[in-house]
């Protein structure tokens, strides 16, 4: 895979089917539905526990807004990812172009996906910092690879949008 900034786009080329599939999974991976730990992480408490009235107001007024914000980001990413659904041969390498104006949506969706995967798998800090773990031998290893791959993309987008 190659990744570069090209004018007003971030281009991911030479995407093999495995990485293309991981990218396709971003919107699904960002969905916390059915996993309490993931739901609690995306919608964490705004206080350290004492202000029950504030928390209930937060749940009523702020959480729906946050939910909409997160969904808008994942929908933008899902639309960009439609580029990977062409009629080309399934094993051919693909190219994905991310418009620079979608950078924030990508940062959010990648972050949501990383947090949800980490919460669902209950990854430890040691596991998350082990960037040289290989090969992928289990579903858990694959999820950890996914978190790191999405983190790498986040870093690149951050660097390119900052410069």
């Amino acid at each position: 895979m190659e990744i570069r900034r090209r004018n007003d786009k971030i281009e991911l080329s030479e995407l093999d089917p495995f990485l293309a599939e991981l990218l396709r999974q971003i919107p699904t991976s960002a969905d916390p539905s059915g996993a309490l730990a993931a739901e609690q992480r995306l919608f964490s408490s705004p206080t350290n526990g004492k202000e029950t009235e504030f928390r209930s107001e937060w749940k009523m007024y702020v959480e729906p807004e946050l939910r909409r914000l997160f969904q808008t980001a994942t929908q933008t990413v899902a639309t960009d990812l439609e580029q990977l659904n062409g009629n080309e041969k399934s094993l051919a390498n693909r190219t994905l172009c991310i418009p620079a104006k979608h950078a924030d949506a990508w940062l959010s969706a990648l972050n949501q996906a990383r947090l949800v995967i980490a919460a669902k798998n209950n990854f430890t800090e040691t596991e998350l910092n082990d960037h040289f773990r290989s090969p992928i031998g289990s579903r858990r290893d694959l999820s950890l690879f996914q978190v790191n791959f999405y983190g790498f993309l986040q870093e690149f987008i951050l660097r390119e949008t900052a410069s």
Partner: protein, 125 residues
């Protein structure tokens, strides 16, 4: 978010508390003075709002560069200051990013949650 009802509720609770104390003192036959009541009544909303802080907590998933970018965007901090806070979160587990009145503090917490950071609103102890 609706904030006024809660603030009114707090004031109302204080008024009830003050009234209750005076009544209890009268009942017990003690002498009460008007000063404490006047002090409470003249406290402005700003005074009530002052001791709040926005705290960001450590999270092993969020990238350090991402957290720095969020601090720059939300608080308008220069990169060096944003990095200092990010490192404080990373090493000490939490950092106080801002303190002041309650209403802007709530809005900062809301923005930080929008960026998926673990942020809380805390009363300065």
């Amino acid at each position: 978010m609706s904030r006024e009802p809660r603030r009114d509720g707090e004031c109302l609770a204080q008024i009830k508390e003050i009234a209750g104390t005076s009544y209890a003192n009268q009942k017990a036959g003690t002498i009460t003075t008007a000063e404490p009541t006047i002090e409470k009544e003249t406290r402005s909303e700003e005074d009530l709002d002052v001791p709040w802080q926005v705290v960001v907590h450590n999270d092993p998933v969020n990238l350090m560069s991402y957290v720095t970018m969020v601090f720059q965007r939300v608080f308008g901090y220069p990169r060096e200051k944003a990095e200092r806070h990010m490192l404080e979160v990373h090493h000490k587990g939490r950092s106080i990013l801002w303190s002041g009145m309650r209403e802007p503090a709530e809005l900062y917490v809301q923005q930080l949650h929008g960026y998926l950071l673990l942020a809380t609103l805390e009363k300065v102890s």
